[in-house]
Symmetry: C2
Subunit: 209 residues, 2 copies
Amino acid sequence: MNIDVPDIVVRRLPIYLRVLRRLQAEGVEETPSHMLAKTLGISAARIRKDFSHFGEFGQQGRGYQVKKLTVELQRILHVDNIWPLVIVGVGQLGHALAMYDGFQENGFRIVALFDNDPAKVGMTVNNVPIQHIDYLEGEIRRHQLQIAVLAVPASQAEAIADRLVAAGIKGILNYANITLRPRPGVIIQQIDPTIILQHMTYYLEQPRN
Amino acid sequence: MNIDVPDIVVRRLPIYLRVLRRLQAEGVEETPSHMLAKTLGISAARIRKDFSHFGEFGQQGRGYQVKKLTVELQRILHVDNIWPLVIVGVGQLGHALAMYDGFQENGFRIVALFDNDPAKVGMTVNNVPIQHIDYLEGEIRRHQLQIAVLAVPASQAEAIADRLVAAGIKGILNYANITLRPRPGVIIQQIDPTIILQHMTYYLEQPRN
């Protein structure tokens, strides 16, 4: 890992990768840097500077080799292999996530689902069985899972996060409406639509109520 | 709007606001800067520097007035009033979003739901009726809505985004598994769990497959 790369650059890499994979799917072999910039809404200079942290991926004035750059980005982001994921909480949101078709194509696979509702245990979503939450730690340890998606009610999120970390989870994607406290050595990211919406409203004019 | 504030700073403000509102709910009136830093996992110096873009919110060595800072951040982010939102697409994900309890407390209210499935039209979610997508533009114009949440299948997302923008929408929160093309004067943010997960895996060790 190159610790000199600013996190803000790392955050853009998955977005670059997404667009490149779309270009590849469309049969595009090479893209001029200004076209990639236009598609992304990010300046060509910014993109070139971001890539420069990892080596040379394009030739000045020639553009980017789509396939080569895609492979490089997948390697840099460690998604050249598939990461197994666990989802904890199979309510409406957890169910929608288990059905989401974007995981596999982007380097992830849901391998286990957990819920505390006995009525759900044994049902399958997208061919993955729902297990009782009692089996959480055992499954994480057995499969050496590193990443968990948390889709439980906010009131249960801290307690479940503790259990996940104790069992060896290193990354938590939190959908619960609560800012989890930091845990050493664990990456916690929250997906909260209102945090993104408040970033948006900063740039919009306040409506008159 | 202060255009000199780096976007990366703006992105952190909603996270600060979230933590401050929690402290306020817990009855905390003042918080030392190092405590706020610890809760957030962001350095006290970074926080102080971020706030300095908007004025002086704390006294060196004394800490932050929780209520005052909360009010200031709400004003800066334009969430001191409530923003009405529309959700387009009431499948499992759209339904879960319509039920999400975090909107109101953070400055947003779902005022309209749309779907193209006649069987869903007339049903209500969280007391908001589902309307047929044919009424989309009329409702947006009538209520001068500026923000839409897009929870439709990826194949329909670009077309619906065109309709939203034509009707006056200025901000789109996109849940569909597609990077929408940029539209002038419109802020488009995508919520894609795999983009956040790929940011996470950059910092994790690749599993052996």
